[in-house]
Amino acid sequence: MEQIIQNFFNIGILKAAFPFLVRGLGMTVLLCLTVVPLGAAGGLTVALLSTVKNRMVRWLVVIYTDFFRAFPPLVLLIFIYYGVPFVGIDLPAFVAVALGFFLNTSSYYGEIFRAGIESIPRGQTEAARSTGLSGFKTMAYVIVPQATRNVIPDLISNTLEVVKLTSIASVVALPELLYAARQGQSITYNATPIVAAGFIYLILLWPVVRLLSRFEHKSIALH
């Protein structure tokens, strides 16, 4: 017991590592604020492109989403960070992470938005168009708002996964929360910083998990 407290819940170590962890958390938040809006906007674009008449475009969208959903995000990240510099393009870690996340998360958000758009009956489009709204305005004011509302639980769930996923940025030395924790561990030879990072994730994300779990029970129970 004492050994556990000494190694996992060491107050002295925690005090020393705390500033690092806070800075790491700041980077995690910044990363989330970058990749979540970018990924969601990209996803909405992908979903809208999958509704166009042109077959070629729709095919390309399917290939794009399936291709990037087939790669583990860490593989994308490693490829971009370590692979791309060989053709002479040097990407800072943050840009590499943002790009890798964009390709991955826009595919997932795209699938969600597409399901949302498909859930809106065609009559809505016809009604909107017959009142004189343009195709674009119909999408923007009639379809997308309702589609988004229909898939809110999935959007939140995916966003939670994206936030958790930012921890893989530690692999390419971006100083986010997990990276800070591992640095703390290697400097102090004590696992307390990693345990503390775990608790930080837990405290921040637990409310989201609770919320989702309520949504899920409701949605399946409705069938």
């Binding site: 490693i78 692979g83 053709v87 958790k164 997990l178 561990q185 990693i194 609770r210």
Partner: protein, 224 residues
């Protein structure tokens, strides 16, 4: 430019040299994925069944465990197992740490999905089955589960695919799966062609899996 591109990413010589390693990684990834899927889904179903007995104190702990595992990033759990546990004398290989972490995460998600499925079967069915003389376990086995499982297939498939892609996280704790082999090849040859091979290997595994997921989603979709 094109020459440089081909030399970097499609260098046949380098590829031929590291192909055997990537193939080893390929099979290790499949093994890790399969072991994770089986463990996670079986354990998830087990906990959902335990939960259906509605014993308060046990359910409290199941919910707590599930919530924690859903809130923590898988890589954090892997790092905890591999880098933190040895300091209290618990040592495990990178493979075990990755398998255990991903299985636990899948267990949590699968438990939630199965439980939601069990809840979705109307109470009247329970009552009807019990009143015909079926025991609790037989009601679960023959009446509730067959209906619940059908509902859970699409969400469970998607979640399982997402979590098995986490096998790449094993590269961080020195599991010789595809990504790890590709990275080793990159640093030994100083040429990223092994990464291209690795990417291709992932496409071979997960391309069909993603396609299968799409098909299952359509096949089991509920008509509204």
């Amino acid at each position: 430019m094109l020459e440089r591109f081909l030399f970097s990413y499609f260098n046949w010589e380098v590829m031929a040299e590291y192909l055997p390693n990537i193939v080893d990684g390929f099979f290790l990834t499949i093994r890790l994925a399969l072991e994770t899927v089986v463990t996670g889904i079986v354990a998830g179903l087990f906990f959902a069944l335990i939960r259906s007995f509605r014993i308060r104190i046990i359910n409290f702990f199941i919910i707590l465990l599930v919530d924690v595992l859903r809130a923590l990033p898988p890589l954090v759990i892997i790092v905890l197992f591999y880098f933190a546990l040895p300091s209290v004398g618990i040592r495990m290989s990178g493979f075990t740490a990755t398998w255990l972490s991903l299985s636990l995460v899948l267990t949590a998600f699968a438990e939630e999905i199965f439980w939601a499925g069990i809840l979705s079967v109307p109470k009247g069915q329970w009552e009807a089955a019990r009143s015909t003389g079926l025991s609790f376990i037989k009601t679960m086995r023959y009446v509730v589960l067959p209906q619940a499982v059908r509902l859970t297939i699409p969400p469970l498939t998607n979640r399982t695919i997402a979590i098995t892609k986490g096998t790449a996280l094993g590269a961080v704790v020195a599991v010789g799966e595809i990504l790890n082999q590709a990275q080793t090849g990159l640093s030994l040859s100083y040429n990223p062609s092994p990464l291209t091979l690795g990417a291709f290997a992932y496409l071979v595994i997960f391309g069909p899996v993603v396609y299968l997921g799409r098909w299952i989603e359509r096949r089991f979709a509920w008509k509204r």
